[in-house]
């Protein structure tokens, strides 16, 4: 596409330069950085025809360096091709087209706009759209969409069997499960609110996960969420959103925390891009520097901010002011918390129809595949269906800004159920979670300082290579649309990455009943960097004890001196030494001792030598004791509910084939597929390799990778 574009451009040179594609880009990228805005260089504003016409007669001479200082005065001079184009353009009289305005004269309304509900039956949404050409999908396909869109996990074969054609009831029941619903939607909100777990930049940054989880579980009304994000009060508030992403040190004026807040609140809640307007009046939309600062002043410590234009202080100050002052004038000299109160009030003002429209449009994009306004972060653009957008926004507001109501309204429309709906790529989290659900094998979340671990869904873990390859973003910026492209790197990670390979391997073992039971530990030292810790465990009835020395984060494993000592068995009050001297155990190793019959307790200490504390060794280890063969991936005690029911035990090839097809693709395999799959199992025997390869192939299948 790109090469064709350039070829076309060259082809038209000589027929008269085209303003839009040839002259405007030159002006925008090489001239406007100085010749625009309220105080342009030399008083020359090249963003308007009036301004440009003043200098048409000297323009070419200036860029050729033949009349005074060459323009532009920094960077490379214009190249010959560009000068040729300018010559042609000047010769033609400098014709102008207003590139910044849209081709239509659409002005996005501010206030909510009443739209009568069209007469008819069924979901009102469909009355705004035409009849679907190819009809709606089958019940099973609908269920697959609904489960993935509400729970983020494909329906299990049992769940598929229970569907009864009542699609509205299915949507309602999915919405009722707060945990599963939150476990999916939190990733979408994390992208939007730049929230992540445990990311450390050595500057101020605070996760809002506890608040967000609660907001989703309680189905907090959207306008209330916005109010709490804009005016966070109290320890459990989402103040991390306004704190932003900060690196230690000094920062450019356009990226201070309050400027980030200005950009992010405008983008996330109003669909407006103020990033350009954070340094100068925007070249790509109508927003001005003072507007970005006016919004920023609602979130800053000071009540008025000095405008900094392209790194130059202007000496001009801006008070807190909303983008639409007609909704309310903020009094001057308010405290920071009062100004945030005003921000919350104005963003959620009943006359600010853009609040509802923006979120409704985002939900439409998420569920249908394409927003009614595209791009979704440009809510000034014309919707493809203004009446539908406004009706839906009003309905959403009338129902108390209930996000579950919005989801249900969209999902019970025929528009959501078209056979030829836009295919949507499954997310990194949907991929991992569905795989875990199908195999019954979940990763578990453990912390260095807790004796308990929990089975977690993918969102709860820090981003890893597989997740990143499948599109989970680094949330330094707001992400409203993920990169869903299938890239070579993704292919490499899927075809050969160790994370997926391990998940498949362990998952298949669990399905075939080949994973040993994971016993609970009898002793967990938690992470230790130095010193000693005493322990005592009951050993009655045990045949052996296993003493493990596990690495947490040791820098130089070979040099670390750690181990066990003072090990004694206690039997009827009598102690018997197990080892005379302290035992040094290499990190990653284990000791196994036979337990004589009648023994009641084992006592001892774990130790780390003083020398091992040195920064060049950086010892960080964790010791465990078990009464039976431990599962090294399950050393910490697991508590809490499983995210999904247990997977079945697979015993035969036909059973496996049926199960995988239904669990991943929500349908039965056809005959050709069935016989092809059988070939993976020579002698019709269920093998680990065959099951892994079949599982892998179905995970890569476009039918799985996309929501059809």
């Amino acid at each position: 596409m790109r090469t064709v574009l350039l070829a076309m451009s060259f082809a038209v040179v000589g027929l008269g330069a085209d303003f839009v594609t040839e002259i405007h880009p030159i002006l925008a990228t090489r001239c406007w950085s100085c010749h625009s805005g309220p105080t342009p260089q030399a008083g020359l504003d090249l963003t308007t025809q009036a301004g440009a016409s003043k200098v048409l007669n000297v323009l070419v001479a200036r860029v050729e360096g033949k009349a005074g200082k060459i323009m532009p005065p920094v960077g490379m001079p214009l190249e010959p091709r560009q000068i040729e184009l300018l010559k042609e353009w000047v010769e033609a009289g400098g014709p102008w087209e207003d590139v910044t305005a849209k081709s239509s004269d659409w002005v996005a309304p501010l206030e909510p706009r009443a739209v009568a509900t069209p007469p008819g039956e069924g979901n009102p949404i469909d009355r705004f759209l035409g009849r679907p050409a190819k009809g709606v999908v089958s019940d099973a396909a609908f269920a697959r969409r609904a489960y993935l869109d509400l729970w983020g996990i494909a329906p299990s074969p049992e769940m598929l069997e229970r569907i009864n054609g009542n699609r509205a009831a299915l949507v309602e029941s999915l919405l009722k499960d707060e945990r599963r619903y939150t476990g999916h939607w939190i990733s979408w909100w994390n992208d939007l609110l730049r929230n992540d777990i445990g990311v450390v930049y050595h500057g101020e940054r605070k996760s809002i996960t506890p608040w967000l989880e609660r907001a989703l579980r309680d189905n907090m009304p959207y306008n209330e969420m916005v109010r709490e994000l804009l005016n966070p009060i109290g320890g459990e508030s989402p103040e991390g959103f306004l704190i932003g992403v900060n690196w230690r040190g000094e920062v450019n004026a356009s990226q201070t925390a309050f400027m980030q807040a200005s950009q992010n609140t405008a983008q996330v809640f109003l669909g407006i891009n103020l990033k350009c307007a954070s340094c100068h009046d925007s070249f790509i939309n109508k927003y001005k520097l003072k507007e970005a600062y006016g919004l920023a002043a609602m979130f800053s410590k000071e009540s008025r901010l000095e405008l900094v234009r392209c790194d130059n202080k202007t000496g001009v100050y801006q008070e807190a002011e909303f983008l639409w002052p007609q909704l309310g004038k903020i009094p001057v000299d308010l405290s920071a918390s009062e100004r945030r109160y005003w921000a919350a009030k104005l963003f959620t003002h009943e006359k600010n129809g853009r609040l509802a429209r923006t979120i409704v449009n985002r939900y439409w994009q998420k569920l249908i595949g394409k927003g009614l306004v595209e791009p979704v972060d440009d809510m000034d653009a014309k919707p493809s269906n203004p009446d539908l957008l406004d009706w839906l926004a009003n309905d959403f507001a009338a129902h108390g800004f209930d996000l579950k109501h919005l989801a249900k309204m969209i999902m019970t429309s025929e528009a959501y159920q078209y056979v030829d709906a836009l295919p949507r790529r499954i997310s990194a989290e949907q991929f991992s979670d569905t795989l875990s659900a199908v195999t019954g094998e979940w990763r578990f979340l453990q912390s260095r300082n807790s004796e308990r671990a929990m089975l977690g869904r993918d969102w709860e873990f820090k981003s890893h290579a597989l997740g990143r390859a499948l599109g989970r973003p680094i949330r330094d910026q707001v992400y409203t649309t993920r990169d869903a492209a299938a890239t070579t790197f993704q292919g490499l990670e899927l075809a050969n990455g160790s994370t997926l390979a391990a998940m498949l391997h362990r998952g298949v073992m669990r399905l075939m009943g080949e994973l040993p039971p994971a016993p609970e530990n009898l002793f967990d030292s938690l992470m230790m960097r130095s010193g000693e810790k005493a322990f005592e465990i009951p050993v009655k009835g045990l045949k052996q004890v296993y003493l493990l020395t596990e690495n947490v984060d040791t820098y130089d494993i070979a040099k670390a001196e750690v181990g066990w000592k003072d090990l004694v068995l206690v039997r009827r009050g009598v102690e018997k030494k197990l080892e005379a001297l302290p035992v040094r155990t290499p990190i990653g190793s284990r000791l196994v001792y036979e337990v004589p019959a009648g023994s009641e307790k084992l006592r001892g200490k774990v130790w780390i030598s003083d020398a091992s504390k040195a920064s060049d060794i950086g010892t960080a280890v964790r010791f465990f004791a078990f009464g039976s063969e431990p599962d090294r991936l399950r050393l910490v005690k697991v508590v809490g509910d499983r995210p999904w029911g247990p997977a079945p035990l697979l015993k035969s090839v036909p059973e496996t084939i049926e199960y995988f097809w239904r669990g991943l693709l929500s349908r039965a395999p056809n005959e050709a597929e069935r016989s092809a799959a059988m070939k993976l199992f020579p002698n019709r025997e269920l093998t680990r390799e065959g099951a892994e390869d079949l599982l892998w192939s179905l995970l890569m299948h476009p039918e799985f990778q996309y929501i059809w």
């Binding site: 500057g203 492209a485 075809a495």
Partner: protein
């Protein structure tokens, strides 16, 4: 005639839906003097006075005043008349006539020093935080020039483990193609000795099961109903990504990643260190047609070049680590006729001084406690972070031969005396030599993002040949 603006709109939308950032009106390209680039990254702040810009030597003795110490090593002569390097770089001293030593590289002022933040700045040309996800230089080159050999990833990054260390999140933040799209992500190789493993099917799978699995997969997809319905764009792009991956994993070109295939006598010259093996791998990859390779000594806070104490001992060790491999890399490339078209750049995020943090005009908060008087050997070394001047060594692809560019003062505060070169202009030089104009821009959210900040980078004539 189709209305060009409508056509432009659809073209843009199509490009956006294909996930690629649109190249804006490309300025004329400078003539490329190099086809590939190797960045040898001295992570952690390589002390310039202990390496490439030695000053007066003061040996250690108890009671030595810290402010008297500029270099903790004596100097050695090099192949260039009158130019000296620090003791420990004897091999590299012999190949300086193949390139240019830049002593006046002045980096940015970012406030209270954070290594990863300066590294982010150096690798992307932009100071974080940024309102868009800016790409690593390797990704920019990959996107603009494309891969040289389609079976070798265009951008390969060797030696940095991104999952450990106190600043790993901030390192991840710039090891990315950002808005250019993940197709231009770095191909990460943490351990050069294991490189071949990441380019071959894992040993659990084995080649034949790997190939059979893929064949089965393609056959299976063919048998599903999606063959007839369903958008072809989605199916094709997914198929293509897996096809490219499988091609890479079974391609003979991937032999370049296997260090065991190198002649033992040649491999021995690179030594056993991770960095040394990384340099050997980089040479092999250039031969096989990689476009951009970074080999790092690795950043882990307080380790390697990041000397907060024991600077002298550590610098000795680091020089021993890099001296052989760097010089051997240059010699090997030259012997194979590749040096002229390969740009090799050795750089670091800032230099070091004993007394000041930041630069004379812009001091920043102290991070390290430096005693006025040294009482133990661990006090001896360069322990503070100096953004005024660091050394950069550049070889090959269009670089002037046997030159020294810029100069720093012989006495503290070791200011740059002439020819300072900023990150922006150093990048402009690098991009120009690779055939990319410094004001090449991509469109993101309808605004341009340039190769060098605001497109203002100017290539430094003094660094380039002819």
């Amino acid at each position: 005639m189709v209305n060009r603006r409508d056509w432009l709109k659809t073209a843009t939308l199509a490009a956006l839906s294909a996930g690629e950032a649109r190249l804006i009106a490309a300025p004329s390209k400078p003539e490329a003097k190099a086809d590939s680039m190797i960045l040898l990254w001295m992570a952690g702040g390589m002390a310039q006075t202990e390496t490439f810009d030695p000053k007066r030597y003061t040996p250690y003795e108890t009671g030595l005043r810290s402010e008297k110490v500029l270099s903790t090593f004596p100097s050695i002569p090099t192949v260039l008349d009158g130019i000296q390097l620090s003791k420990g770089l004897e091999q590299t001293a012999k190949v300086l006539d193949r390139g240019t030593l830049l002593r006046s590289h002045r980096v940015g002022d970012l406030g209270f020093i954070l290594h990863s933040r300066h590294q982010f700045h150096w690798h992307t040309g932009y100071e974080p935080p940024q309102s868009v996800a800016v790409p690593h230089m390797g990704s920019f080159i990959s996107r603009t020039l494309g891969a040289k050999n389609p079976d070798i990833p265009a951008f390969i990054d060797i030696g940095q483990n991104l999952e450990i260390g106190g600043e790993s999140d901030s390192l991840k933040a710039f090891h990315t193609a950002g808005f250019l799209g993940s197709e231009h992500s770095p191909f990460l190789i943490t351990e050069p000795n294991d490189a071949v493993a990441s380019t071959r099917p894992s040993e659990f799978l084995g080649m034949s099961r790997f190939e059979n699995r893929y064949k089965f997969y393609k056959d299976l997809v063919d048998k599903s109903a999606l063959r007839d319905n369903g958008s072809s764009f989605q199916k094709e792009s997914l198929a293509r990504s897996l096809e490219n991956a499988h091609r890479l994993l079974t391609s003979p070109a991937a032999k370049a990643f296997d260090l065991n295939l190198e002649k033992a006598e040649v491999a021995a010259k690179y030594g056993d260190s991770k960095f040394g093996r990384g340099c050997l791998l980089a040479r092999r990859l250039v031969e096989a047609g990689a476009r951009f390779i970074e080999v790092t000594t690795e950043y882990i806070p307080f380790r390697f070049w990041d000397t907060h104490e024991n600077g002298h001992t550590r610098a000795e060790g680091m020089k021993a680590t890099i001296d052989g491999p760097v010089s051997q890399l240059i010699r090997d490339l030259e012997e194979r006729g590749l040096l002229d078209r390969t740009l090799v750049v050795l750089a670091t995020e800032f230099g070091r001084d004993m007394m000041m943090e930041g630069k004379p005009e812009n001091l920043v908060k102290n991070q390290v406690t430096v005693p006025d008087v040294m009482t133990e050997p661990k006090h001896y070394g360069m322990h503070r972070h100096f953004t005024e001047a660091s050394s950069v060594v550049m070889f090959g692809g269009g670089i002037a031969k046997g030159k020294v560019h810029g100069e720093t003062a012989p006495e503290r505060p070791c200011r740059i005396l002439r020819d300072p070169v900023t990150i922006t202009d150093l990048h402009a030089t690098i991009y120009s030599l690779m055939g990319i104009a410094p004001d090449t821009a991509y469109e993101v959210e309808r605004r341009p993002v340039y190769a060098t900040k605001d497109g203002k980078g100017k290539a430094v004539a003094g660094l380039m040949r002819g």
